[in-house]
């Protein structure tokens, strides 16, 4: 069960500038994260869901201070860490970890995986080499790489994709972190092997009471792991709330489009809520509501005025001038139509 607040992100912004230098090319400002605010409690999982390029990974890196925000604040366990210098951040680093999407790139190809798991303890001066090895063996066993003595000296190429992802998880968890950003941890893994990886993350979460930001483009995965879901679009959260509430009764038109487009074995013949075109280039974000050029419900006002992320009902937030009415989705699905 969620406990006290461990993380607050307030108005985070991160722009990348491309081109315009000596290498030429037009100067473009990519607004990767453009005003993101949320809080996270201990033991809670918040899923960041959105299409490619919506700013999920950048948000995850910002809150862990792996990237410098241009503006906004990051409060970790009550302390404002937005501008902490690296020397002051160092003691906090073991408490916050990132798990990357691609287990191929996040491991050194020449290092035995057991050593990779032990390493963070040594780097952070939390254990001697001997202690770290013993602890790493325990973690390997814990993530199902048994017998651990056998796996310890293997290099990543001698493991399958699913096994490598277990190594990456063991490496993050050996520090008993309080906050983990898991960036698409199962999207490169075959569907039959995903459940075990997700269960592993949930087990660690329960044991350590850790708070997790779970990044995914897949709503159906978010549904299985998240307490709350935040839907991102072009660098902003457009809707946020309890996972079930969002999925059963979306308010934002974009959320509705995502939900009804998700392939399903159980509801094969459903009507999709169609939106126009594709996600815009984040260096050319439309004015007003950034979703308005694609939105079937856009009003005149949506072209000029950016909607704030505001409470629509207790615990739920939506950034939309013309949100879908309560109960819209079940009506849409049962009548097969009419917005």
């Amino acid at each position: 069960m969620p406990g006290g607040v461990i993380l607050e992100a307030v108005g985070l912004r991160k722009y990348f500038v491309k081109g315009g230098g000596i290498l030429g090319g037009p100067r473009r400002v990519i607004k990767a994260v453009d005003g993101v605010t949320f809080t996270l409690r201990r033991g809670e999982t918040l899923a960041l869901v959105g299409e490619s390029g919506s700013g999920k990974t950048t948000t995850g890196k910002l809150v862990l201070r792996l990237l410098e925000p241009d503006s906004g604040r990051i409060i970790f366990d009550g302390e404002d860490i937005t501008h902490l210098p690296e020397s002051k951040l160092r003691p906090l680093r073991p408490r916050m970890q990132m798990i990357y999407q691609d287990p191929y790139w996040s491991l050194n190809p020449r290092k035995p995986v057991g050593e990779a798991v032990a390493e963070p303890l040594i780097v952070h001066g939390l254990a001697s080499r001997e202690e770290a090895r013993r602890e790493a063996l325990k973690l390997l066993e814990r993530v199902g790489l048994t017998p651990p003595e056998d796996f310890y000296w293997r290099i990543p190429a001698q493991l399958s994709g699913g096994q490598r992802q277990r190594v990456v998880i063991a490496r993050a968890m050996i520090l008993k972190p309080e906050l983990v950003v898991a960036d698409e941890p199962v999207s490169m893994i075959d569907v039959s092997m995903r459940a075990e990886i997700l269960r592993l993350l949930k087990d660690f979460q329960r044991d350590y009471g850790l708070a997790m930001i779970f990044i995914t483009h897949d709503l159906s995965v978010a549904r299985l792991v998240a307490d709350r879901i935040a839907i991102m679009y072009l660098g902003r959260i457009v809707e946020m709330g309890p996972a079930d509430a969002i999925l059963e009764d979306p308010r934002h038109p974009y959320t509705a489009a995502l939900i009804t487009a998700a392939p399903s074995v159980r509801l094969r013949r459903r009507r999709r809520y169609e939106i126009r075109g594709e996600i815009a280039d984040p260096s050319r974000i439309p004015g007003g509501c950034r979703f308005h050029p694609r939105c079937p419900r856009a009003l005149e006002r949506c072209r000029s005025e950016e909607p704030e992320l505001a409470e629509s009902e207790p615990g739920r937030l939506v950034a939309c001038h013309n949100p879908l009415p309560k109960g819209w989705l079940s009506k849409w699905l049962s009548s097969g139509g009419a917005s």
Partner: protein, 321 residues
């Protein structure tokens, strides 16, 4: 199902690596009816792309078709010369390859690349005519005609996929093979690309073979689903039968593992890992992961047997016959 347009008989495709032969496709027998949409599903490394490449006779070395036949409209493609095969590729069988960046040349305009198809097959007599036809193909795929002048990097992922589909259907083939055409795309774009394929299928009266690891995607669009595991066809049948009452334990596992917004809220998977195809398990290749395995499954290979309107390769499934 109409008369078969494609009949695979005991097809075997192996890659001869230094560490031994990878039995990527190992005795696949199946028919695809004219006008059908068949989806081939299975996880990474199960041999889906190899099967598709074999039909096109484009298996890269060290791979080779080592046995069996591929009857396309009655002709065994494995026996054709390369010159004869070139008249079938593109013209009668179109293909969208798995890696879109690898199949578009980054330094050539989209229009020129589609025009190649017309010029190679002598359908257009001049470059100008070929480019004009390329514009029409783009339009058919939902892109503006004048995008013939664009380069691949100027297109989004979804638009590139449209351009590739335009090139694949340029000569109005009878059969379109699309290998994971939407894997790198988000769900909203994915749905639109699937609509496009569905529309073209209807318009051109094509047969479609979709290759995907996503059984839900397959279930929404196909007439039949073929399930591959470790180089073998393990189950093949009409969509409703496959997803509502899977006979093979792997098919069942795959469906239960697929997270579904409208399914049970429960984490399910299949224990273990898929095998190394250089040393596949004895007996049934799925037996080390199978919850229903019997002693017999370890030693004896289950044959692909007809059960009602389905084919299935599982001893336990046969008990239900």
């Amino acid at each position: 199902m109409g008369e078969p347009i494609l009949q695979l008989r005991d097809l075997r495709v192996y890659y001869y690596t230094l560490l031994g032969a990878v039995r990527a496709v190992d005795g696949v027998t199946m028919d695809v009816g004219r006008g059908e949409w068949v989806s081939i599903v299975g996880e990474s490394g199960s041999g889906k792309s190899t099967l598709a490449l074999a039909i096109m006779r484009l298996v890269p070395p060290p791979g080779r078709i080592v046995g069996g036949s591929i009857l396309f409209d009655g002709t065994d493609l494995t026996r054709l010369s390369e010159a004869e095969m070139r008249r079938i590729r593109g013209r009668r069988i179109g293909m969208v390859f798995q890696d879109p960046m690898a199949s578009l040349d980054p330094v050539r305009r989209i229009g020129d690349q589609i025009a190649d198809v017309y010029l190679e097959h002598g359908v257009a007599s001049s470059k100008g005519e070929a480019i004009r036809m390329a514009g029409e193909a783009l339009e058919m795929a939902g892109l503006p005609r004048d995008w013939v002048d664009r380069y691949p990097h100027q297109l989004s992922g979804g638009q590139r996929q449209r351009a590739l589909i335009a090139a694949a259907v340029a000569l109005k083939p009878e059969l379109l093979i699309a290998d994971e055409p939407t894997t790198a795309l988000d769900v909203i774009v994915q749905a639109k690309i699937m609509d496009l394929i569905e529309g073209l299928k209807r318009e051109l009266g094509m047969t479609v073979i979709l290759i995907t690891h996503d059984i839900a995607l397959a279930a929404e669009r196909s007439t039949r689903i073929a399930v591959m595991y470790a180089g073998k066809l393990v189950e093949y049948g009409p969509v409703d039968a496959i997803v509502e009452d899977p006979l093979h334990p792997y098919t069942r596992g795959l469906i239960e593992s697929a997270p579904d917004l409208w399914g049970e809220k429960r984490l399910r998977g299949i224990p273990g890992y898929p095998p190394d195809l250089r040393r596949p398990p004895s007996g049934c290749r799925f037996h080390p992961r199978c919850p229903l395995a019997l002693e017999r499954c370890r030693s004896e290979e289950p044959p692909l047997v007809r059960v009602g309107d389905r084919l299935v390769a599982c001893f336990r499934a046969l008990e239900r016959r």
